[in-house]
Homo-oligomer: 165 residues x 2
């Protein structure tokens, strides 16, 4: 399997992340406290890591980075904190092509993902295309899709006819 490049600058450009992003994270501490939750060093570490990881990350990667910043980090804490952050809409989780947990940091708009089994890259599905999918399924049997949780696999244009699989 090739390196899992995260091809956001490609055919389907991801939402622009930048200044606005930092602001969102600044408020986390207060956001949590407002909900009766607490701001702990461990959560601070995870948020620090998330700040530098715009886009998509696997839970395992997050845990590894946290460990670099704080040697005492425990997996269970990271997973639990991610759950909390998800409730606040700061991250969204989905499952990669191999079924492993994958987190989308600061999902500015709901979007699905494409995974190329040829080169291992992932793309975001453009909103318009996503809408087409949602519409198709709504028409089919009144199903309202939760796009954020979707990862569709296949082969990108480049790998279309390569025999890598």
């Amino acid at each position: 399997m090739p390196q899992s490049a995260t091809n956001q600058g490609g055919p389907a450009p991801a939402g622009t992340v930048g200044a606005a992003t930092a602001v969102a994270w600044d408020g986390v501490a207060d956001l949590l406290r407002a909900g009766g939750l607490r701001w702990t060093p461990q959560r601070r570490t995870l948020v620090d890591v998330l700040k530098e990881h715009e886009g998509h990350v696997t839970a395992t990667e997050l845990i590894a980075r946290c460990r670099e910043l704080d040697r005492t980090t425990t997996p269970s804490t990271v997973y639990r904190t991610l759950d909390v952050l998800e409730e606040f809409g700061l991250v969204a989780h989905g499952h990669g092509p191999d079924g492993r947990e994958e987190y989308h940091v600061l999902p500015e708009q709901v979007h699905g993902h494409l995974y190329c089994s040829g080169c291992g890259a992932t793309w975001e599905i453009r909103p318009e295309t996503g809408a087409a999918i949602v519409d198709a399924l709504a028409a089919d049997l009144g199903f309202s899709v939760d796009l954020s949780h979707v990862t569709i696999s296949g082969r990108c244009r480049g790998c279309h006819d390569s025999p890598t699989d």
Copy 2:
């Protein structure tokens, strides 16, 4: 979470399974041998289990059932056999909404799946609808989708406005 009903008879009827199905399994032994592979008691057990499980099953369920028939069944063997059967197109694997392995027995036509986070039921995506999705993504960036590997979650018509989540 409710029982995960497999709602094949619903809005999106699954392909009819029956007589033709049995035939497909009858040839497995020869099919394998023709490919230089072997027909072992363990594989026989798994195939026996698959015979009684038209539709969708999780890997765990298959392993459990194999254990009932043959107490000595090992998980690794089941997974490996499943891989082999997949290469012959006799089963197809995907990932359920929670990322767990899920196998589709004798997929007569490629199809994706819908999972309702409200009632836990799953539906198959109708071929026409699936085609619409494939087309949309092909148009987007020349991506050729592997529908069989897709599970999209959301809420079905019935659960549309229930607050179960």
